[in-house]
């Protein structure tokens, strides 16, 4: 399928998503909107990380500053500025681009580890400063505006979550298309070269710092645009939009989604947003799970979810698939057992540590348990232990099945 074809498919998908049974409530559509916003932010971040090899711990600065610029712009619209609300993210994009160019000129002089640390320091600076300048940043409560009070474009009054979703989805499509096109320009290709071997880039006539600067500015622009979408959706922007937590979240999204594929960022954004929203309903330990998941991906699945999907797609129609599927089937029950055991242990300990007043009785996986007694502990530990042990024994079979698949592809090539 061509890129054009895929773009149309994506557009159709985005159009139909809020009408799928189960997705028709306001809260589901709100979740979809959040995912779309995160996707724009994550795509902008992957321009830096996956495409140019720049690890930034402070990308939320541009998201947040774009958000603040947009919310002020929205207030101006509330006050009479005759611009329809769907155009507000452009203010965010402009703010993102401007700050991106200013800060980028400073920070892209170095790459690698130094760049990462500088981005961290700059992020902390902007976040701390936001609390010192209440007239622009609104202090602790943030800045609010209304998305319904302004000239309406074709009856689009932005009152319903559905409308907000469609505006956000439209911006997602536009941003994704532009970023994709950007990566196929000379600068985009040189960005890949800078990622692979910045030194050699100099010897083919280009200044790697200049390439980084350009990509950085573009990336900041789209991050600012995402901030604008955030402003419209929530009608409030506060200091957390600039925080280290938000910078960390987008890093997690992009890496878990997979840095090597363009849509990996979108996959990660969807997965992590879902985890953040849903998981936090079930457990207070969700940040621990996220951290463990992240570490697991870094150590064992560096290609992320997208890499994993691609890997499996490649072997899907081949004969080796059967051996692989069978090895998975054997390992699956033990994987479930081990995870259930581990999760139970974590949940029990977490509950006792953070909510001692809730008492010893709790219900996990529909099983009521009394954490004061030893049996839940033993049961969970046992499940985790046995599961892990069996998994370790089942692993060589999986590895062998994949090795065979690899040999087959080689033989055919």
């Amino acid at each position: 399928m061509t890129a054009r074809g895929r773009a149309w498919l994506a557009a159709a998908l985005l159009l139909l998503l809020p009408w799928i049974p189960g997705m028709q409530s306001d809260s589901s559509r709100s979740l979809l909107t959040q995912m779309a916003i995160a996707a724009v932010f994550a795509l902008s971040y992957n321009l830096l990380l996956g495409q140019t090899g720049l690890l930034s711990f402070g990308h939320a600065v541009y998201f947040g500053l774009g958000g603040y610029a947009s919310i002020h712009f929205l207030r101006a619209i509330n006050g009479g500025l005759p611009i329809p609300v769907p155009f507000v993210p452009l203010a965010g994009a402009l703010a993102g681009l401007s700050f991106g160019m200013v800060f980028g000129a400073l920070t892209t002089r170095r790459g690698g580890t130094v760049f990462a640390l500088i981005s961290l320091g700059l992020g902390e600076w902007v976040h701390a400063s936001s609390l010192m300048l209440p007239s622009f940043f609104g202090g602790e409560e943030g800045v609010t505006a209304s998305r319904t009070k302004g000239p309406h474009l074709d009856g689009l009054d932005m009152a319903s979550q559905l409308q907000v979703y469609y505006v956000t989805a439209a911006w997602l499509l536009i941003s994704a298309a532009l970023m994709y096109a950007f990566m196929r320009t000379p600068v985009g290709r040189l960005a890949n070269a800078v990622r692979d071997n910045p030194e050699r880039v100099e010897f083919i006539g280009y200044n790697p710092q200049r390439v980084r600067f350009i990509v950085f500015s573009v990336s900041a622009m789209f991050a600012g645009l995402a901030g604008g979408l955030h402003a419209i959706n929530y009608e409030i922007v506060a200091a957390e939009s600039l925080s280290a937590a938000r910078s960390g979240a987008v890093l997690l999204m992009v890496y878990i989604g997979g840095v090597d594929h363009f849509l990996g960022a979108v996959l990660g954004a969807v997965a992590i947003t879902w985890l953040q929203v849903s998981l936090s309903d079930y457990t207070t330990a969700w940040l621990l799970y996220l951290g463990l998941l992240f570490m697991g991906v870094v150590a064992f699945v560096p290609g992320g979810l997208a890499g994993l999907a691609m890997m499996h797609l490649k072997v899907l129609r081949t004969p080796a698939m059967r051996a692989i599927a069978r090895s998975y089937l054997v390992a699956l029950p033990f994987a479930i057992l081990a995870s259930a055991g581990l999760v139970t242990l974590i949940e029990i300990v977490y509950r006792r540590a953070t909510q001692p007043e809730a008492g010893a009785l709790m219900k996990l996986f529909w099983i009521p348990m009394d954490t004061a007694k030893p049996w839940p502990w033993i049961g969970a530990a046992g499940a985790a232990g046995i599961g892990a042990f069996a998994l370790a024994r089942a692993w060589p079979r999986i590895a062998a099945a994949w090795a065979e698949a690899g040999e087959e592809t080689h033989a055919r090539a």
């Binding site: 096109a181 950007f182 196929r184 320009t185 000379p186 600068v187 985009g188 290709r189 040189l190 890949n192 070269a193 990622r195 692979d196 071997n197 030194e199 050699r200 880039v201 100099e202 010897f203 083919i204 006539g205 280009y206 200044n207 200049r210 390439v211 350009i214 573009v218």
Partner: protein
């Protein structure tokens, strides 16, 4: 030290009393060299003589402690590598220095961009740049990697990577080409193929080459300079170098000559 014949052609590269010290250790101790346009010049010498350092000085990777380096008469000592590359000097590396996660075609295509005036453009798709694509495909043809154009550079065999290394170096059409041990690690047939390639790409250009394989040197070079402990002990035609007893003692010894 043999004094080279006075140059009558314009000089592509000129080194005047170049010194390079790392901390207290002198590596290059007063090297003067004149390489006229269109010459194929080989630099030989024992390990540790400073050949790669010399290349690094000429291409801008290192800055000389003192001395002058001129490219087409213009002073380039200590300039950033990309400025020197833009003036038409291109170099290859002894340890393969490619872009491993990009395709072979992409590797070569990026190398032609500056010479075609693309600059830092981000408004047109690279696929639409016909010149760039044509030039890239031509280069791929010359280095014999057309069949592997869509493979990721990191998975190529060693010889293929060395060929790509040369491809990246020549793709931009530089008129002064520096090749750092281009045939290192190659078998005899691979070396012969490489020599043919080097001969064809250096036609009408200035070539400076560091080499250990004497058959390559004597087959290709117009002139040879011998670098020992950071100094040039001889600089002359291959035949005279071969016959020079001082050079023999210092370097060639009983090896294949």
């Amino acid at each position: 030290m043999r004094v080279p014949e006075p140059a009558t052609r314009p000089l592509a590269l000129e080194l005047v009393d170049v010194h390079k010290r790392f901390g207290a250790t002198p590596i290059i101790r007063g090297v003067s060299l004149e390489i006229p346009r269109g010459e194929r010049h080989a630099i030989i010498g024992p390990n540790g003589a400073g050949k790669s350092t010399l290349f690094n000085l000429m291409s801008g990777r290192l800055r000389p402690t003192h001395g002058a380096i001129r490219l087409d008469g213009a002073d380039v000592a200590g300039k950033r590598p990309f400025r020197i590359a833009r003036r038409g000097l291109s170099r290859s590396f002894q340890v393969t220095n490619i872009f491993p996660r990009m395709t072979v075609r992409e590797n070569v295509r990026c190398s032609v961009l500056w010479s075609l005036g693309c600059g830092y453009s981000f408004l047109r798709s690279i696929e639409r740049l016909r010149n760039a694509n044509e030039r890239a495909d031509e280069t791929l043809e010359r280095i014999g990697l057309t069949a592997r154009r869509d493979a990721l550079a990191g998975v190529l065999t060693y010889a293929e990577q060395r060929a790509l290394e040369i491809g990246i170096t020549i793709a931009g059409g530089a008129h002064v080409i520096l090749l750092d041990e281009p045939t290192a690690g190659m078998s005899r047939p691979e070396t012969e193929a490489a020599v043919e390639l080097i001969r064809s790409v250096s036609h009408d250009r200035t070539l400076v080459m560091v080499e250990h394989d004497m058959s390559v040197v004597f087959g290709l070079a117009d002139r040879v300079s011998v670098l020992v402990y950071g100094e040039i002990v001889a600089s002359d035609t291959p035949e005279r170098i071969r016959a020079d007893s001082a050079v023999r003692a210092a370097y060639l010894g009983a090896a294949d000559a």
